[in-house]
């Protein structure tokens, strides 16, 4: 059972624009991604939406499999810019690592 | 009077032919290819009913094109669909077409 | 009348609704699809007009088969289709009693572009009456 974290979005703002909320979870990004086939990047975006910070940190290695090729951003129906969101998460996670 | 009209029409048609020269040329070359293709399909079908892939392989034509002709010839009553074989239907010359062929011969 | 005119004994009567089946038959014509010529199509508003006796009389007169081509449930006359279906049920009962093969009477729904269904119906009825011949009820 997961409780949503209402404040995570605020925490992330420092690292990224909050376009993650524009995502309507269609899954195009996950299916178009040439690199990662494991619901990535939507899984990460959804975790941002529901504030699942721990899940993001747990799965953070996945972020660096993204090469920023931009195909997800290019095909996103909502223009939520998944590519930039992942870049933002890299920053967030790296900052977290460095803090610890 | 009638002759005069006829003359006028003749001149106008000549003019039109000049104007549409390239269109007419491309249409007639299209028509010639179609005529050959259709003749090939019909000749092949004289050997018995066949499916689209069989026809296409038999006369070295892409399957989608063979189907396009088939749909058309069927519409104009020259070919009929007969039984099904696997996932494909077989086509054969229609009675009308067979009679026509006979008459030709 | 030329002598060759009277040669077809196996006649099929088709009662075709004005809004659906009759234009459907026209559509078959537009497609130039041939079907047996022993078919006579009557344009009707709603086949519910015909009493049981009409059908029996047709057979008595020598009609070999009747196809009622209606609009089905989409009939523009509210409730008419139900009444028609009921009517034909009792015609079937009468036919059984009179030992008329009930296959001689068919109720079907034909729409304005139901070419294939139309041709099928005609073909089946034609095959049937060619097998069993005209009804022997001549009065």
């Amino acid at each position: 059972m997961n409780s949503v974290n209402l404040d995570f979005a605020e925490e992330l703002k420092e690292y990224s624009d909050d376009t993650a909320f524009e995502c309507f979870n269609c899954g195009t990004c996950a299916a178009i991604c040439p690199l990662v086939h494991d619901n990535f990047p939507r899984r990460m975006i959804r975790y941002i939406q529901v504030g699942a910070k721990e899940k993001i940190l747990e799965n953070s290695d996945e972020l660096w499999r993204c090469l920023h090729c931009g195909l997800c951003t290019h095909t996103c129906p909502r223009e939520a810019d998944p590519g930039e969101i992942i870049l933002g998460l890299k920053r967030f996670v790296l900052a977290n690592w460095r803090k610890s | 009077m009638i002759n005069k009209d006829k003359e006028a029409k003749k001149t106008a048609m000549k003019e039109l032919r000049g104007l549409r020269k390239s269109l007419i040329a491309s249409a007639s070359s299209t028509m010639k290819i179609q005529k050959k293709d259709i003749a090939a399909i019909k000749a092949f079908l004289k050997g018995g009913a066949a499916t689209i892939p069989e026809i296409a392989a038999g006369i070295d034509m892409p399957t989608d094109k063979a189907l396009w002709y088939m749909a058309t010839l069927k519409k104009y009553g020259q070919i009929v669909e007969v039984q099904k074989e696997g996932a494909f239907f077989k086509y054969t010359l229609s009675e009308q077409e067979k009679n026509y062929e006979k008459a030709e011969a | 009348m030329s002598p060759q005119a009277k040669k077809e004994q196996n006649k099929i009567l088709i009662l075709a609704t004005e809004t659906c089946a009759y234009p459907g038959a026209d559509s078959v014509g537009q497609a130039h699809s041939t079907y047996p010529a022993n078919t006579y199509i009557l344009r009707v508003r709603a086949p519910v007009l015909f009493p049981e006796s009409f059908y029996i009389d047709c057979f008595k007169k020598g009609i070999s088969g009747i196809i009622v081509m209606s609009c089905g449930e989409e009939c523009p006359y509210e409730g008419a289709y139900k009444a028609l279906a009921k009517r034909l049920d009792s015609v079937y009962k009468k036919m059984k009693k009179m030992e008329i093969d009930i296959k001689r009477l068919r109720l079907t729904a034909i729409c304005t572009v139901c070419n294939r269904a139309f041709l099928n119906e005609v073909k089946q009825m034609d095959q049937l009456i060619r097998e069993i011949g005209p009804p022997q009820l001549m009065v």
Binding site: F21, V50 | - | Q4, A5, L42, V48, E78, A80
Partner: protein, 596 residues
Amino acid sequence: MSEKNQNVGVYICYCGGNISDHVDVEEVRNRVEKMPGVALARTEMFMCSDPGQEMIIEDLKSGKIDRVVVASCAPSLHETTFRDAINRAGSNPFIYEHANIREQVSWVHHGDTATDKASVLIASATAKAKQLKPLDPIRVEAKKHTTIIGGGIAGIKAALDIAQTGIDVTLVEKSPILGGQLNNLDRLAPSGEKASEVLQELLDQVLNHKGITIHTDCKIQDVTGYVGNFSLDIVTKSDNKKLTIDTGAIVMATGSVSYMPFEGEYGFGRHEQVITLKDLIPILKENKSAGSVLKVNGKTIKNMVMIHCVGSRQIPGIHQPKENGQLNEYCSRTCCAAMLNVSNQIRENFPETGIYEMYRDIRTYGRGQEELYNQASKNKVIFMRYEADAQPEIIPSPKPDYPLQVKIKDSLTFNEEMEIPADLVVLATGIEPDDVSGLASMLKLPIGTDKFLLEVHPKLRPVEFPITGVFLAGTCQAPMDTGEACNAAGAAAVKASALLSKGYIELDPFVAEVDTDKCQGHGACVEACLKEGALELIEVNIEGKIHKKARVTAALCLGCGACAAVCPEKAIDINGWALKQYEDMVDAIVSDGFTV
């Protein structure tokens, strides 16, 4: 039918080869010419051409013929052409019969069989033609007046539309005020107009229109009559005043109500923090409080959950039916946009109030609605999706800072179970039709399985009932939003206007007619009649004796012929499509044209 011999003129078309290539047209003419009753038979290259038509007109004018058969293409193409020609000759257009020898002969049969069949079809058409008689359209006087039942947005719009074309209107509303559901709404989705302003704009016009009479707080007690001549008895609820309205047409615009959740449905009635969208809207309307967080009943709403599809899209076996067994299987169409609209308002005015929307499918189908959904996402409304068989659960919160907790198996989060704390849970309750069963049975209006009023056909006649002269508009038919209800009202209004614009109504002449001499008053026809009121038994005094006779009300008769089939005396038949005609046609067919 009179027994005197009719003179039938038969005209056979070559159709420029279309017919003559397969049918020996001249041979057909030879055969037809000899048929009894045929005064003359002619052929022509194109019957539909001017010379062809002129030929018919000449023959009619000269008195050589008084019945016409044209054998050519399908009747759908040229029946009207030849009827018009006959009209031009000064004859009644209904003395005409068509033989279809192109679509049903020359295009489908070849050779001798085609020629034979063409002859037989002409023989059969001739047999019918001999039984034809002149017919006149039935004309019913109609009151240039329409009654609208229901004073919601659809009723108001319909009233205004009809009145503006010069037809008087009476608007009957059961409640004391006009406006219906719009009175309960605030900002309308998706464009955000104020419901009150939209309503006022129409009301101003309606109240000032001289052609519109308004009766509020009224009940309809009885409806009688038929198209053009209805009569409504109404009574005012407060002072029991009675009133009769004579009217030419009726528009049903009786509207809808909001679904009421049962106790315990998503915690409704058990937790005070669970309310419906309908309850929330007036709170928002009045909530003028400044500040960045929404307050409801004085309580701060930090986070709220909105649940879609409450009382809509219900599935047998999953959802609980109402006491009357009713299950709302339909989509209420308007709630998705309404919810998103409210969410946007809250997020924009009270940014510190968080919102979670739980949906099955977001149905922002209409113009500007998808943008509303997108905007809600931009406003950081968080969406969660549940399946019909796994509805969100509302329980008291285990944590002290929120009263409630909503549990959902969220398919967007990979089917994980999620828990959302909430200060408020809002249910998007669906639309249900207002109960008009009394009125419906008075007017014999059909009701669908979804309990909404049922139109004749959603595409052919979407705003009409099978009862001629009665129309429907708005949410009494199905859920719809304000714009759609107004469109429906416009469509109903145009039908009513077209019907009444002339002051009389012309009906098809193809109706049942009773041969009173033959009629024995069995009443079988009345029983068989599909249309209530079209046939009745009346008592007639013939030479001092009372006889029962059937009587047709032409304005109500459908012309289906159900009556003709059951009359033992064959005393009733359909004009233009008589049973007797068909019998003769069959005779002509079986005898290959000999007995005509």
